[in-house]
Symmetry: C2
Subunit: 195 residues, 2 copies
DNA sequence: CGACGATACGGACCGCCGGTCCGCTTGGCA
DNA sequence: TGCCAAGCGGACCGGCGGTCCGTATCGTCG
């Protein structure tokens, strides 16, 4: 299995597309009016190249998302508390959800585009499975918490991109308020610490 | 303001479209492959008529949703416990969310289509505002519950159509299990009854 | 009952977008 | 240097939501 190498121009174009798409999704407020043709043009590349590199729109979105998520993924998997694995579960759960929330606040258009990508649900996406698996694992370590699987889904649902967008954008709720509310909700949903 | 009457053929066609759309969304599993042209054809009507009557796709979806929701709306606003207004809050909240869940289970494709209708978020929709306002009002009557507004959003998020679809469809979770899990989660998120 | 204006009908038509195709270019190896 | 697989790019396609306008129908008024 010699693992076929890509040609240099191919990887360069891939980078260019990623960078261009990143910029476009950050600039434009609504993700829907970033078209594939736009991205290709902004990257100085033909549409064929774009689709060859990423398969389809969802593929591009996923690649972008994964790239931006990388640093957080590392912080969660091997970083220091309160995000890293050494944190006690009861403390780590709110930290994880806060991280998700902040990520979505910082990448609003992209998160919106990915979750809203018409096709299937966001739930089939690989990154969602990762979050869910992780959260579920942590929840399982909290004694007395029934149904960690569903609880993980429900907690993650409280940070859905469109809800975040609505509260932060439409309603103008400031970032710190939103963070506090999410934290409050999450803590409340965990069984009380005593006994 | 004599409130201009519609012509008879207009209302008849409106009914026909509603019925046809209803049938199509129930039959087809994915809401995306019910096109406007399909609906028009199934109703024996031209596309122009369809768009004249409902404005756009979202308008049709909303009208359908509202029609199916009517009976539940009444049950909630003036029906007997546990859904009606006479129910004690701590008991009514899980009942309300169970009702939402069941509704979405019973109207999967439609709910999916409405929440996923690309444009804006589901959060601008009138029916969501209604649910949220109602739930918030009930939550406010529970002593010791901070942030009823956000809590209402978060609880409703746990019954999002695409999550329901994923759990019930993809994962094959039986209806009663799902109901039990939602109920468990909701109850857990409420402050404990004692003191 | 006949006729006339307002209202609604319907399907050809439009613009747009995601995605494909294929003749041409270019990188990389012998 | 020559060869060819890998890659490029933009014309092209199918299908969708939505519009337009000539035609048919309703319902009212003389």
């Amino acid at each position: 299995m010699p693992e076929r190498r890509s040609r240099k121009d191919a990887v360069r174009n891939r980078e260019a597309v990623l960078a261009a798409a990143d910029a476009l999704f950050s600039r434009r407020e609504s993700p829907e009016d970033v078209t594939m043709a736009d991205v290709a043009a902004a990257a100085g590349v033909g549409k064929g190249t774009l689709f060859r590199a990423f398969g389809d729109r969802a593929g591009l979105l996923r690649a972008l998302y994964a790239a931006r998520l990388a640093s957080m993924r590392e912080a969660v998997e091997s970083g220091p508390p309160p995000l890293g694995p050494a944190t006690p579960p009861r403390e780590r759960v709110p930290a994880l959800l806060d991280a998700v929330l902040c990520f979505k606040l910082d990448n609003r258009p992209l998160a919106l585009a990915l979750e809203g990508s018409g096709n299937g649900s966001p739930y089939r996406a690989e990154h969602y499975a990762w979050w869910h698996g992780l959260l579920r694992g942590v929840l399982e370590q909290i004694p007395g918490l029934a149904e960690p699987g569903f609880t993980a889904h429900a907690l993650l649902a409280a940070t859905r991109a469109d809800l975040v967008e609505y509260l932060a954008g439409e309603e103008g709720l400031p970032r710190e308020h939103l963070r506090a509310q999410v934290r409050g909700f999450v803590v409340r949903a965990l069984p009380s610490a005593s006994h």
